[in-house]
Symmetry: C2
Subunit: 87 residues, 2 copies
């Protein structure tokens, strides 16, 4: 991938935000053990999609895509696991 440094920087900020966004949700389900309003289908599709984004990022050699989707996949799986466990 050919892109100037500041564009890749913008991608890393974007990736940091969308990745970090799962943290408050993960902490909320951890604390409350309540997942009634969360859609299991959302987090299942998100886990599969994030895995494919990660593959796409590796094939393109995009640091932003790899960083963001690797971490997101972990957090999304964590939230999905709580949903499975607590319903």
């Amino acid at each position: 991938m050919q892109s100037s440094g500041w564009i890749e920087g913008l991608g890393l900020v974007a990736g940091s935000l969308t990745t970090v966004s799962y943290l408050p949700q993960a902490m909320k389900v951890w604390r409350s053990r309540s997942t009634h309003d969360i859609s299991l289908l959302m987090f299942s599709l998100m886990a599969l999609g994030t895995f494919l984004w990660l593959t796409y990022g590796i094939l393109l050699g995009s640091p932003a895509l790899i960083f963001a989707n690797g971490t997101s996949l972990t957090l999304v799986t964590w939230i999905g696991w709580f949903k499975l466990r607590y319903g």
Copy 2:
């Protein structure tokens, strides 16, 4: 961005999945009007991050990033609006 057709195809499948994933969550809050277990901070950070991903995709000329993040931004904002309205 230089990438072969099938890699861009993989990105479009990934983008379709992560984008479509917000739909069941949007429909769930629409039907139930219940958003107690949803983190407002998650959807606020996700909206900002998705906006920056969209900008990154435009600058790189990536159809997958533009398609995925344009639609996701709309759905994430919708879910966040329900959270603000129903608490």
